[in-house]
């Protein structure tokens, strides 16, 4: 593999500004690395012509005042609509769909000169925690347990983004996060991933899963790159009425590493029964690092934490059942072959049975049930009330002066592909136990790799920030990153 693809965004930017590197060289190196990494199954629609064209344009624009992302090759999650390029949300129901428009986030990235290498694998409609629900097949984690060649999950739903960045196929990637889909995979592959405050990035042109929870965010090799990429992705968009019309601060400039006097909360409810000792230790070590950097550590309580997952598994499927009603075989994507005499209802039913995978069907039906007459109040409204209490828990600790909250990112290291096949769906849902509260409360959360487990697999910690204070959150994450000094990389076997 070329050393060029191992560069961070910041390093590549600086080299290009100095004239030591061209985007064409860098992009070419990434395309070569991607072609050699089909075993990871990350890039499911490669766009080399678009990439080289964008790289040439970036090289023409190069200069000290070009945007940070000018000429930087990125991977784009398949959930983002990209004009003229397949955008399937990893679902058979969107087979052949080529949007006639470009999502706001990718529009902004390209306006800043970013280069698209292709579309990245994911769980179908972002529903999954292991990237095993994709119509393109599983993504493989570049990490292995020592010399054991068992194929591991990169997590999900942004599993393709995670593996591609960890394997140095691209310099960064877009992800989306509805219950942990940026932070859990980032932790499973030893990279950084931030889900910003709900409303920071426009959702326009991103295939919708659960509209009140979905947010886009970057997945990158370090915290500085996350700051750079988030900057370009953020901002108000008149086409998304929930995107916030407030200024986007300079995130990279906030990275001083000075967190003296900051108050970091350690929530007791995140200490789960049966939590692996390695995760306990990782968390304690991270706490000690922030303390050594001058932060004040306080024990806090977020009493409704336990109810976050059940509330999520009402609200997210309810919104999904509504959002996914549009896949009916009429306007785009797949339509089932009909038998003689079939009417429009049979067309809908057969199309959706053929087009949606098992997990998506299950969630759409659960959502349909909790919204149906007679159950709406008992399930959906109750879950929304509990959601209000979960948010209130966070409001209370922030009001008491807590600046950020430190938790584990995941309850374990990456597990083997197929290992959860026999488990009931709830076992898989537990992967998001530490991340889902953040979506329900609309807060920013970032996963930072801080250690390895006994088998040599990466583990990450999560920092949760106050709403709209990503700059501060990134700075705390930067301090943690510097203290942890995580530099391990997977050994190339692919």
């Amino acid at each position: 593999m070329s050393e060029l693809t191992k560069l961070t965004i910041a390093a590549a930017r600086d080299a290009m500004r100095k004239g030591e590197l061209t985007s064409a060289e860098l992009t070419g190196a990434c395309l070569k690395a991607i072609d050699g990494a089909d075993a990871l199954n990350t890039f499911v629609h490669k766009t080399p012509e678009i990439a080289m064209h964008q790289a040439a344009a970036a090289d023409a624009r190069r200069g000290a005042d070009a945007p940070s992302l000018n000429g930087i090759p990125l991977g784009i999650k398949d959930l983002f609509c990209t004009k003229g390029v397949p955008s399937q949300a990893a679902s058979n129901i969107l087979e052949g769909f080529k949007p006639e428009y470009e999502s706001t986030v990718t529009t902004q990235l390209f306006a800043d000169g970013a280069v698209m290498l292709g579309k990245l694998n994911m769980d179908e409609f972002a529903m999954g925690s292991s990237n095993e629900t994709s119509c393109y097949g599983d993504v493989v984690n570049p990490w292995r347990r020592g010399n054991d060649d068992t194929a591991l999950t990169p997590g999900g739903s942004s599993g393709g983004s995670a593996s591609a960045v960890a394997a140095d196929l691209c310099l960064g990637a877009t992800g989306t996060d509805t219950g942990g889909s940026i932070r859990q995979p980032a932790a499973f592959v030893g990279i950084t991933g931030i889900k910003p405050t709900y409303g920071r990035c426009s959702r326009w042109g991103i295939v919708a899963f659960a509209s009140s929870l979905d947010q886009a965010g970057p997945m990158t090799k370090d915290v500085r790159d996350a700051a750079i990429m988030l900057q370009a992705m953020s901002g108000h968009d008149p086409k998304d009425s929930t995107s916030a019309d407030i200024p986007v601060p300079d995130f990279e400039a906030a990275l001083t590493g000075d967190i003296r006097g900051k108050t970091i909360g350690i929530p007791k409810e995140y200490r789960m029964d049966g939590m692996p000792a390695e995760i306990e230790k990782l968390w304690a070590d991270g706490t000690a690092m922030l303390k050594a950097a001058g932060a004040k550590i306080v024990d806090i309580s977020l009493p409704h934490t336990k109810y976050a997952l059940p509330a999520y598994y009402v609200i997210a499927p309810a919104e999904a059942s509504s959002n996914l009603a549009r896949y009916d075989g009429v306007r785009f994507g797949h339509r089932a072959k009909l038998s003689h005499g079939d009417g429009i209802t049979e067309m809908y039913e057969k199309t959706r049975a053929e087009g949606f995978g098992h997990e998506v069907q299950r969630r759409v039906m659960i959502g349909t049930y909790v919204l149906s007459a007679g159950f709406y109040d008992a399930y959906y409204n109750r879950a929304r009330r509990v959601r209000a209490l979960i948010k209130r828990d966070f409001d209370n600790v922030f009001a008491e002066g807590v600046d950020a909250i430190l938790t584990p990112a995941t309850p374990s290291a990456a597990f083997g592909l197929g290992e959860m096949a026999e488990a009931d769906p709830i076992q898989m849902y537990l992967n998001d136990v530490f991340t889902v509260t953040v979506n329900l409360a609309g807060l920013p959360g970032i996963a930072v790799p801080t250690g390895l487990d006994a088998q040599g697999l990466p583990l990450g910690l999560q920092l949760i920030g106050r709403p709209w204070e990503e700059a501060d959150l990134l700075n705390v994450a930067y301090s943690l990153e510097r203290a942890a000094g995580f530099v391990a990389k997977p050994t190339q076997w692919w």
């Binding site: 009429v330 339509r335 057969k350 659960i366 049930y369 009330r385």
Partner: protein, 95 residues
Amino acid sequence: MSIDVDTARRVAKLARIKVEDEALPALASEFSAILGFIEQLNEVDVTGVEPMTSVTPMRLKRRDDVVTDGNQQAAVLKNAPDAREGFFAVPKVVE
């Protein structure tokens, strides 16, 4: 709460997803497991708590009521599985 086969069939119908009869018992038992998990929510005292409508306290912006788009018929129909004479085509709806 236990979901029976008839309820599973009704939910599949409401969701417009064809589920074969032989698949219904397994589906019903999956629903029961997930709803059992969700039922933990009944332990929470939600007296006086309003259902959350917006996670960030903000007023949704209104845009001017003006035409901003149009004349996109070809683009709109471009991805249709079946489009004829400028329309989406579907099986006969009215007898």
